[in-house]
Subunit: 439 residues, 2 copies
């Protein structure tokens, strides 16, 4: 036999078992989005290079996959590239279709994206993103609603999580207050690493990045804030009292937390002043969600951006959104092991095993009737040995096997075998339906 075929590195095939779990995750998330009135859109896999270039920084530009028509000469620059995320195509969509859209526009989008990253464990060149955003309003109700969505999704998936919350305006206030307003990026990049490298290394890095010793000293009480969210907000509020933007950030955060309380959020929500995330386009709240029982980093994140559509010539549209990391959520569920999908709608409920051609016809008639009752039914297509047919049922996790021989046909019954309990009994059509529907 020739060499086995394969697929490009960094890409994956999804088997029926994978798909069962992925569909379960996606449909759980979709159901929650719909409860909140979000509307689904899809954009093309390929976008014009003019849409993509310069939107993801220099590093991002290098990770774009470019697409060549056969018509294009090899040395021509390709005019199209594969979708790199769902945010830039969404901004492009809003600007392109602004006349058709009734703002505020609540949209969600679940599609694959492609990045020419070096493949490694947990990092793929093709992966799904699952984004939910509201654009066209700066109301903080939207932030609270996204927190509710996070809680709802992970409670339905039985994943215990903590939501970390920050605000870009607080970060700006900090930079201003310690006398380094132009160093906000450097400060956040450094303090974002506090968990990983510790306070001393962070301080070293701050000096390397050009902060004065005085500024670093002033930053220390902020890095050491502790206590409840209320206590932290009181403390940072006092520290930033002289900064208008910082004070605004504190107020916004208080309001979001009070709305969360209003709607009875139960998951831990923690004010985390070291949280930065893709700071460059966030302008208000910043979110990050971490699983409590699995060490895997962030599984969902997002924030408010005040000028995303500005890059396409439509300024002044504020928005806020979060993105669920499907692949990591899958890994969390996979790690938690004890995971089973309740009421799995994708598994065959009964398979007919027929001992001859007449039995097959009889089975097909029964199967037809059972499907009309909404039951998921297979008829083994070949007249094969019983052992082979039962082996198929077993390999496909089909619990019930309806065995049909001439006796069963004569009495208008089937011999129903329970592959888990090992029992078997003769049943009529109505008994079979009742049995399967009650499981």
């Amino acid at each position: 036999m020739a060499q086995k075929p394969s697929i490009p590195k960094g890409t994956r095939d999804f088997s029926p078992a994978d798909m069962r779990m992925r569909n379960y995750i996606l449909s759980t998330i979709r159901d929650v989005f719909l409860l909140y009135g979000f509307k689904q859109i899809e954009t093309p896999a390929m976008e014009l290079m003019t849409t993509l270039m310069g939107k993801y920084g220099e590093e991002g530009d290098k990770l774009l996959f470019r697409i060549q028509n056969s018509g294009e000469k090899a040395n021509e620059a390709p005019e199209k590239g594969l979708r790199y995320d769902l945010t830039v195509p969404f901004a492009r969509y809003v600007v392109q279709h602004r006349e058709e859209i009734a703002f505020p526009f609540k949209r969600f989008q679940m599609q694959p994206v492609w990045r020419a990253d070096r493949p490694q464990k947990g990092r793929y060149r093709e992966f799904y993103q699952c984004d939910v955003d509201v654009v066209g309003t700066d109301s903080l109700l939207c932030e609270a609603e996204l927190v509710q969505i996070v809680e709802s999704v992970f409670s339905r998936l039985n994943i215990r999580v903590c939501l970390h919350l920050n605000n870009r305006k607080i970060l700006a206030g900090i930079a201003q207050t310690i006398g380094a307003p132009d160093k906000i990026v450097d400060i956040t990049v450094a303090i974002d690493k506090l968990d990983k490298i510790g306070i001393d290394k962070v301080n070293e890095e701050l000096i390397e990045r050009g902060l004065s010793q005085e500024a670093v000293d002033k930053l220390q009480p902020i890095l050491h804030l502790s206590g409840t969210n209320e206590e932290k907000l009181d403390a940072i509020g006092q520290l930033l009292a002289g900064s208008e933007i910082g004070t605004k950030g504190v107020e916004e955060t208080r309001y979001i937390l009070s709305l969360c309380q209003e709607v009875g959020i139960k998951m831990p929500v923690e004010l985390d002043l070291c949280l930065a995330r893709g700071l460059n386009y966030y302008t208000g709240a910043i979110f990050e969600v971490k699983a409590l029982d699995v060490q895997i980093g962030s599984i969902t994140g997002g924030g408010r951006y005040d000028n995303l559509t500005g890059i396409f010539g439509m300024p002044g549209v504020s928005g806020v959104g979060i993105s669920f990391g499907i692949d990591r959520i899958y890994d969390v569920l996979d790690t938690l092991h004890n995971y089973t999908i309740d009421n799995d709608q994708s598994r065959t409920q009964v398979i007919f095993v027929a001992m001859g051609e007449a039995e097959q016809r009889y089975s097909m008639r029964w199967a037809c009737y059972l499907r009309e009752q909404g039951l998921r039914v297979e008829v083994y297509p070949d007249v094969a040995k019983m052992k082979k047919q039962l082996g198929y049922a077993d390999a496909n996790n089909i619990r019930y096997v309806a065995i049909v021989g001439s006796n069963e046909m004569a009495s208008n019954q089937v011999m129903l075998k329970d592959m888990i309990e090992g029992e078997q009994e003769l049943v009529s059509q109505e008994e079979l339906i009742h049995k399967l529907q009650s499981k």
Copy 2:
């Protein structure tokens, strides 16, 4: 404002309204596939060029989109291409994962494919395919099951269709019988056009393609066959009596039709000896489905192939499958106009319109409770004029608006406005839930 951004030609954005209909079509089809025990898989958007090249003929090779990493030099031949159909990736999947698969393998797959075709009305460079196949058995029960699936899908979608049926073995038998066994491709390509160009032009083309006048004369009675399927099968059976393969084709077709009768197929199934379709890999039954009330060509098609995995070094795996043309099905539904989705699960059921900040908080608490009852609820995020908020409800086809002012809060009610009937009434939380759940 800068020039509006756009998307590559031949690609499309799907709006919320488009997605509602597309999701409805896809979930209808998926539900039917699951009733028959088919399992979903997904394959990567990009395949190795070695997997794709030479599988779609010379024309197909030219229509492949090639993918360049930024790491690749412009003059290097790209090693990856975009998926061109779902059949070749499926064959690749079966061979690559053969040790994990329990045959017969019943799979379905719903994913976009890409072709660098010249874009025109109804032809896109990115479009969805929706394929269902059984591989690893040559049982004709599978053909019958596919016919059942076709009937089920289109009856659920309320599209009246006719299924056209032929068999590659009958076509081979015809070529043999008229003395031109090596001309089977030429014969079928020509007679495939009978509907469009008429019998005289077909006969001219047959001569041009190198058939003798004698062969063309012998073909005439076959082209003029009419009557019921039974009558046609009797006639062609007699004409092909001297051809072993032709006789086999007639027998297979009889058996498939008898199974269709057994399970009570009600849609018209018509034996169509001029049906050929991608003849090169079909070896048995050939299917094509046409809408009866819209002129749009084939909306679903497929057939049996005995050696699809042979191209990847795994011979002897027989399979049969069909592909639903989602875009054309969408166009049919769009043309039929009177089309509405029953029990649409993606539309918001009630939106809260609040006249101030306290009213917003009250609305968010109510919304939270309603969503726990499974209702789809929005809270308008801004404290805006009533007219603006009602305009949003209207633009988003939300029937019920719950208006909250200080009086409603005082009495623990909302003023519920029916945007269709124009009526409004004060209702309690339980009354509101009951009203929405009963709609």
